[in-house]
């Protein structure tokens, strides 16, 4: 069958199970866009900035488990994808980014809208291809999807010259993928798993550190089984949130720079860390030399390069988390661990980081907790970066896997809105909330138009404090309150939403919070709420840079009030 390069690409996308593409057209991709209507299975969503397409594809992948796809034209279009690609790379998200390129005779000649996007993205892609012949297209696409979605997932770039899109070739969909240099380890080494089980059985104060790898591997059931069988408390990284139900008795929440005090104390006192699908990032460990000083470390991860990279590991196990846990769980003994759990519960009571202080002021933590209350925890939360992100991580009750979508590794402001867009498109039956700061929302605010054009019913909560909050917090705590370039003027977000055709509300008092959220939920379509919150709230607890996890700064203003329990949900 003779087709042109663009058609071959589309045929392959369909066979790979692609249902949605986020993109923005341009000269170099005209050939591709021209044939798209021939493939109605491929729904195209036109964004307003290519960064939005990349973030949406990333979030779509995180909530569906499928590969996210985005398209941009050459030159500036491709460059606009870079942040989104780097974001997907650092958080191990399976994304295939397709960029048009100038025609083959023009490559390397500084042609109009030409950039060496393959060169630019070498450090931030799992792999990339410059497709120089239409008859390579099918093999390349097949390989790209395989690489993006297996082992440790990551973004793969396909750079396709415009004349390759229109070049004809015979189309045969490759049966197998031939990649001699790519053989991810699927199953863990049985002897290592046995050793790990023995170490767990002998430990007195074990904790589990669960990261995004648990979610990527779809291993939340196996994690629950391990924790419950061996009575081990579970701590998550930021990106591991929702891999373990936070209302479970064994859940200690998040660790790290803004983690729960009781989680950090448990890690610090522990004699064994069972690290599953996490990479000991500096935000999680605090000062590495003082990290978990008394603990042995078991490290289970699909990426061998992460093992031993930041911390010394006693029992390394390379393999997919789900497979490893299945074998490990059989060998682990059931133990009560009464003393250790009593200690951990004592810390949880005495350092109640999850409890919001009682005040009549409208504080951002309260807004997040009310979103949790009203939704019953039955929602997908997409955060920005900074204080809004930390409060969303700390004060929402995550129980269902993949209910938090956040930019952890790269920490990209502006992720919130396009991510919520991608998440809603991927899981249309779920409620999706974007929790944003007034700074970050302005970085990708143009995607409000996409919400309207494609009727994507995302609910948006802006925690509007008139500052670049997290930077201001650091300036307050470490730079003697010298607020340089952090006070922020914003437009009237309600008017902006209205200009885009999105209903919105402004909330200025505590009493208005819950009714506004309920109204947003009732509305059938996108809705925006501008919460005017206390300007100088800080995220607590905090482990300052250069400190260890034991050196926790807690909220000096807190009067403890018991937290209201959210509604039960019926399934996990």
């Amino acid at each position: 069958m003779k087709l042109n390069g663009a058609q071959i690409l589309c045929e392959c996308l369909v066979r790979e199970g692609v249902e949605v593409i986020f993109g923005f057209p341009g000269g170099s991709v005209l050939g591709l866009y021209d044939v798209l209507p021939q493939y109605p299975q491929l729904r195209h969503i036109l964004v307003r900035h290519e960064q939005g397409a990349a973030h949406a594809a990333d979030a779509y992948a995180r909530v569906t488990g499928k590969v996210g796809v985005c398209i941009a034209t050459s030159g500036p279009g491709a460059c606009n994808l870079v942040t989104g690609i780097a974001n997907a790379h650092l958080d191990s998200s399976p994304v295939v980014a397709i960029t048009g390129q100038v025609a083959r005779p023009f490559i390397g000649k500084d042609a109009f809208q030409e950039v060496d996007i393959t060169g630019i993205t070498v450090p931030i892609t799992k792999h990339s291809y410059l497709v120089l012949k239409a008859d390579e297209m099918a093999t390349v696409v097949r390989e790209a999807f395989h690489i993006a979605s297996t082992g440790r997932p990551g973004p793969v770039l396909l750079d396709i010259p415009r004349d390759v899109f229109i070049e004809e070739a015979n189309f045969t969909y490759p049966e197998k993928v031939e990649l001699p240099g790519y053989r991810p380890t699927i199953k863990g080494h049985p002897a290592q798993i046995k050793k790990a089980a023995k170490t767990i059985n002998e430990s007195k104060k074990p904790v589990i550190l669960a990261g995004r790898g648990v979610l990527i591997s779809d291993a939340h059931k196996e994690l629950l089984e391990l924790a419950e069988k061996a009575h081990i408390p579970v701590i998550t990284t930021l990106l591991g949130i929702s891999s373990f139900p936070e209302d479970h008795d064994l859940s200690l929440g998040m660790l790290g720079m803004h983690g729960m005090a009781y989680a950090n104390l448990a890690v610090d006192a522990s004699d064994l860390l069972i690290a599953i699908g996490m990479r000991f990032d500096d935000r999680a460990t605090g000062k590495v030399s003082g990290f978990a000083p008394n603990a042995q470390i078991i490290h289970i991860d699909v990426d061998p390069a992460e093992i031993g990279k930041n911390v010394h590991v006693n029992v390394p196990i390379v393999g997919e988390v789900k497979n490893v846990l299945r074998v490990l769980n059989k060998a682990v003994e059931s133990q009560e661990r009464r003393d250790w759990l009593a200690q951990v519960r004592k810390w949880r009571k005495e350092h109640a980081s999850d409890v919001i202080r009682q005040t009549s002021k409208l504080i951002p933590q309260y807004v997040v907790s009310q979103i949790c209350e009203v939704t019953g925890g039955d929602a997908i939360v997409c955060t920005g970066v900074g204080q809004n992100q930390m409060w969303a991580a700390l004060h929402f009750c995550y129980r269902k896997p993949n209910s938090l979508v956040s930019s952890g590794g790269l920490g990209t402001m502006g992720f919130e809105l396009p991510a919520a867009m991608g998440a809603k498109v991927g899981r249309p039956d779920e409620t999706v909330w974007a929790i944003a700061g007034d700074g970050g929302i302005q970085m990708t605010i143009q995607e409000l138009a996409t919400l309207v054009q494609d009727n994507i019913a995302v609910k948006i909560a802006i925690l509007n404090n008139g500052f670049l909050g997290m930077v201001r917090q650091w300036q307050e705590l470490f730079y003697e309150r010298r607020y340089v370039a952090t006070p922020l003027t914003s437009p009237d977000f309600v008017k902006v939403a209205g200009a885009y055709g999105i209903p919105a509300a402004r909330v200025t008092t505590k009493a208005q919070v819950t009714p506004a959220i309920k109204k947003a939920m009732k509305h059938d379509g996108p809705y925006l709420i501008d919460f005017r919150v206390e300007p100088e709230e800080n995220v607590y607890p905090m482990v300052a840079p250069g400190s260890t996890l034991a050196q926790i700064i807690e909220d000096p203003n807190k009067k403890v009030v018991p937290k209201a329990k959210p509604k039960e949900t019926s399934n996990l």
Partner: protein, 163 residues
Amino acid sequence: MTKHTLVALVEDKPGVLNRVASLIRRRNFNIESIAVGHSELPGLSRMTIVVDGATTAVEQVRKQLEKLIEVVKLTDITGEGIVARELALIKVHATSSTRSEIIQIVDIFKAKIVDVGIDSLIVEATGDDAKIDSLYSLLRKFGIKELARTGRIALQREGSGVE
């Protein structure tokens, strides 16, 4: 000896060298040399990388390189059982009064003179880096005009060795 020799079999595709170099740079690995050329397998090149183990985590270099899709196989062959060689071209200052002494040194090292000019000559030397380093340091007193070294290539021994 803190130098480690890593040998990688990489796919002979455009951009592979760029990917390897980019990885080395961004992870701040301290690399002494890289030499790459065709191997005995069609479509695969053999890349020999020398890493200074004192300033760089060799284990991380190995693991990160292995992650690259085009790296088919990577082995750390540091140790006794290898043959390691390097080629150097040294353009030395040589006047009529110093020429004979230079020639003597070159003979002792079993190197060759491949070019003679009015005030210089080019020495070609092959050997392990200890030999090249010694020859180079002896020739330095005459004044070196230019030096070009290929970097180490190495294969594992299977016999008991001839040299």
